[in-house]
């Protein structure tokens, strides 16, 4: 029954005196079905970084289209800058769990870890996209990766108030680690979805290569959290003294008794 009178989104109030109730399609067309730029709204320029954030959230096709245009490098740089700032902001929230030096160490480690992970994975991403038959240029691949990072980090900033509430009310590193990983995982799902939608417009014959790359990226990113530990707890050294894989480190963290966890986190 509601299909008869839905209010179309993003219509200025002034235009609503006689609401033009044009029902949006119940199932939007799959991304990639319509070529980028076919819709005039795709071609609207992105003049500044805030517009890029807006476009990424509300009209990702516009961002994908602009990444293919001359001057896409500037847009990519802006997106990476936003990702850097947002990662640092979330890092400060992560640092509030232990306070002290972690207030600056956690943002540095999170931002650096994210960018190092992306840099390490960029060559394999390009290779996998080529193997998939995609026509995407390296700049476009960089742009989609920058979109993934930006979307992930702005979502993490969205989660930041919730993370802060929890960081002030628990002393369990295991719990906080799980919470941050969960937020990161949710943010990554949306980021990866953006990237997949972007590659759907590059004539790729298969998503298999991209799926493999996503697994690689996830593994690299979680290993980075172990390589740069401690991010949540405190330590005498900036980098860890011994090398470990993330599974071993997580299991070790879970085995720590509450008192020790609390002492490590709060001293």
């Amino acid at each position: 029954m509601n299909e008869n009178n839905p209010v179309p989104p993003l219509i200025p109030p002034a235009d609503r005196t006689t609401p033009p109730f044009v029902p949006p399609s119940a199932t939007p067309p799959l991304p990639g079905n319509r070529p980028l730029g076919e819709d005039p709204s795709d071609q609207v320029a992105i003049p500044h970084t805030f517009a890029a954030i807006e476009a990424l959230l509300r009209h990702p096709r516009r961002l994908m289209f602009q990444l293919r245009q001359p001057g896409g490098g500037k847009l990519i740089a802006g997106m990476l800058f936003v990702a850097l700032v947002c990662a640092a902001v979330y890092g400060v929230i992560v640092g509030t769990f232990s306070n002290g030096t972690q207030l600056w160490a956690a943002p540095v480690k999170i931002a650096a870890g994210l960018f190092i992970s992306a840099t390490i994975c960029l060559p394999s991403l390009y290779i996998f996209t080529c193997l998939s038959g995609s026509q995407a240029r390296l700049a476009e691949v960089c742009g989609l990766l920058a979109g993934l990072l930006m979307l992930m980090t702005i979502l993490l900033v969205g989660f930041a108030p919730v993370a802060w509430i929890f960081s002030q009310s628990t002393s369990s590193i295991g719990w906080m680690g799980f919470l941050h990983l969960m937020f990161w995982f949710v943010a990554t799902i949306f980021g990866v979805r953006f990237m997949k939608n972007g590659f759907a417009h590059t004539n790729a014959k298969s998503h298999a290569g991209l799926n493999v790359w996503i697994i690689i990226f996830l593994l690299v990113a979680v290993q980075m959290t172990t390589a740069l530990r401690p991010i949540l707890g405190k330590s005498d050294t900036f980098f860890p003294a011994e090398k470990q894989f993330f599974v071993g480190h997580w299991l070790e963290s879970l085995k720590l008794p509450d008192g020790e966890i609390g002492a490590r986190a709060r001293n």
């Binding site: 509601n2 399609s25 119940a26 919730v162 929890f166």
Partner: protein
Amino acid sequence: MSTPTNRLKLSEISVLLRGESQAIAEWSGCWNARRFALHIGVIILGAGLYGAAMGWWRAPQQGLYVAIKFPLIILLTTFGNALINGMLAPLLGLNIPFRQSFLVIVMSHAITAAILGAFSPLILFLIWNAPPMAAGAAGAPAYSLILLVQVAVIALAGITGNLRLLQLLTTIGGSPAVARRVMFAWLWGNLFLGSQLSWILRPFIGSPDLPVEFYRQNALHGNFYEAVFHAIQKFF
């Protein structure tokens, strides 16, 4: 001018409760400070009255505390999740501005609070008829009955508020599937944060064995989910 405005205010509450999605969708599309204040007022009053009734059984002072804490939890949850909720809506297919997503959530909470407020005299009556909360009452049938009634009323108000939210999102977006996705994402986030805030700001009903206080001395020790986990562990 003032009389029509007042009449409009009253009618707006009933429009919200009736779930007249068309009108509510139009309200959500434009900012109106007076309407926003009205909805916040309904949350404070409705949830506050219910909170007062809830805490009254332990002591009048506990009633006062819960009258402050209950609306505070709803408002803190709404503001705490505003950013992520505003981002999730377009990402899940409902392309509405941040402000609109915020207003829509405030309205659904206003509906919930209005229902809670309407039930507050009934809760007060129930408590008036219950034996005084005495030491060891936590296991008594009266305590269990009051606890269950509270859960039932809060569940009823919460479900109604969310059903109205679903109708509203369907009207705004046009797609029931998208509306469901967005509503469940918001619901998940609100439950997640709301549970923790409730944990921090406990007690609500209160315990005869513990003093009346705004929040427990160990409010910030541990979290809701750790407590649930430890409770489950006790079974094994």
